[in-house]
Amino acid sequence: MQFGVFSVSDITADPTTGRTPSEAERIDAVVRIAQKTEEVGLDVFAIGEHHNPPFFSSSPTTLLAHIAALTSRIILSTSVTLITTNDPVRIAEEYAMAQHLAKGRLDLTLGRGNTVPVYPWFGQDIRQGLPLALDNYNLLHRLWREDVVDWEGQFRSALQGFTSTPRPLDDVPPFVWHGSIRTPETAEQAAYYGNGFFANNLFAPNGHFARLVHFYRERFEHYGHGTKEQAIVGLGGQAFISKRSQDAFDTFRPYFDAAPVYDHSVPLERWAEASPLSVGSPQQVIDKTLEFREFFGDYQRQLWIMDHSGMPLEMVLDQLDLLGAEVVPVLRKEMAARRAPGVAEAPTHASLVRARYGDGEVRQPRPNANRGDNVTGTSPYRDSDPARPAVYPVLR
């Protein structure tokens, strides 16, 4: 079981002081939060992708690669990578590159995103959002698994004899989670490929996303990747912790009040009771998180939003201290004790390498010599499968 934090990268005025951090301050703060995530013993740090103010995270791989250099243990991930408006060829290249630099400590969560105007900024049409997302992942999946790809889809120019470089570290692609809150097609795609499924578990009643998660589990089993209990499920959440429950509500309330994502016709207390939002003492946050398991079954990854809506850095770091010292150690123990036998471990690069090669030799792709025209012949790597030669366009 992996525990960690995810951030949407919002830059918001602190409602208690009215001060808005600069982009520079907030970017530095998020790097510090990621380091702290490792220091307090958590397992995952994930960052969102946005292309409009008041968010800063337009280039997640740049940020994650930098954090990779400053950390040694945590897995870096996204929440989410836009599979709609990014060219899957660029996703394949950028995340493989970041995966190399992070020495395998990188995975990603794919999502459609919920910012309507972003589609035309990148030449796409939101009305085609879902087929675009499905098509793009089908291509991304192949780009990371086949040295040479011929591709024709509905939305981007065809590829002939294309090789995405660098090949993934150890020729094992970064693990992919598919994030969705309402789309069975996304759950089906995650199940078909044996990938993970992530529900953000925010802003809805307790257990609201369980039907979609259970659909994914059933389809995962249908496609022969294991039993439905062995499917790979990740959940989000948001937490605010104080030693005393009432202090948590008092301190969190102005940030909750300023957060535009909550329906403020409902008071904070009811959100904390009836939705996955966890506010209170460490024990209250533990109890609420253990309830997630009742709705969704044993799962592999739990991420919380900890830095939302203008919280100053010092407060976020204090929160992470409490999370790492008083909440997660208990959850690790309690969840391990309750876990059904045979449930899958959370995927890591090491476990994926082991699954692929066992004790055998790990493939390290070495390219053939450049032919002089920037294409490299019928086999781009020295050990590429000769039965699947590249078909290049005729060069004149």
């Binding site: 879902l130 087929p131 499905l134 098509d135 089908n138 024709e152 889809g153 509905q154 309402r182 789309t183 069975p184 097609e185 996304t186 089906e188 795609q189 078909y192 802003f203 809805a204 009643p205 609201h208 039907r211 979609l212 259970h214 659909f215 059933e218 329906d263 016709s265 409902v266 009836a274």
Partner: protein
Amino acid sequence: MTREGMTRELRSLVVINGGIGDPSSSRRLADKIARDTVAQLAARNVDASIRAIDLGPLAGEIAHAIVSGFPAGALLDAISELARADGVIVATPVYKAGISGLFKSFIDILDDDLLVATPVVLTATAGTARHALVVDDQLRPLFAYMRALSVPTSLFAAPEDWADPSLSRRSRRAAMELAALVAGRVGASMAEAGWDGYQHSFGSQAVHRGVQIDGDVVDLDTDLMRRATGGI
């Protein structure tokens, strides 16, 4: 929900009452039709239960559901009851020349497919006969959008109508129409034959053949599902 009884059949009628008074004239009108419908069904050897959903006590939950997108608590139970109804009688007061905002808000939070092919009697009450067309002008298009099976006779009652025997005649006529559709399982057979032809969304509370639409009945035979599994 058992729709085929051993000897006599049991059907469920649900009243949706947008009136907020106690007693409410909207509720009174709906109850009158509900009782007439039960009598008509009994004549056809069909037993029926009546459950009333009064929207007044649910007003807070309805408002929260409009803003948050998620019905909860007693409201969720009411919607679940409505989803399983064999026949529905709706009643709204007329305010400011239109149907009640509370009533419209309740309909607004229902899943689009919740009332597909469900027989419905449309009624309204008002303080003046000048509002008589509100039922056919506003309720009928609303339930057409819901793809419900609205019966031909709609009812409207201004204060003077309660003393007019023709209101009872119209009530019996609407009840006869509803009973014919419910006893003949007209809506149910439409839903059974053509359910997949209507648009559904994942997580809807709609009920088809007694089963809530759930993960295991997601339509996998679609272009998008083929695309999800590597197809184009």
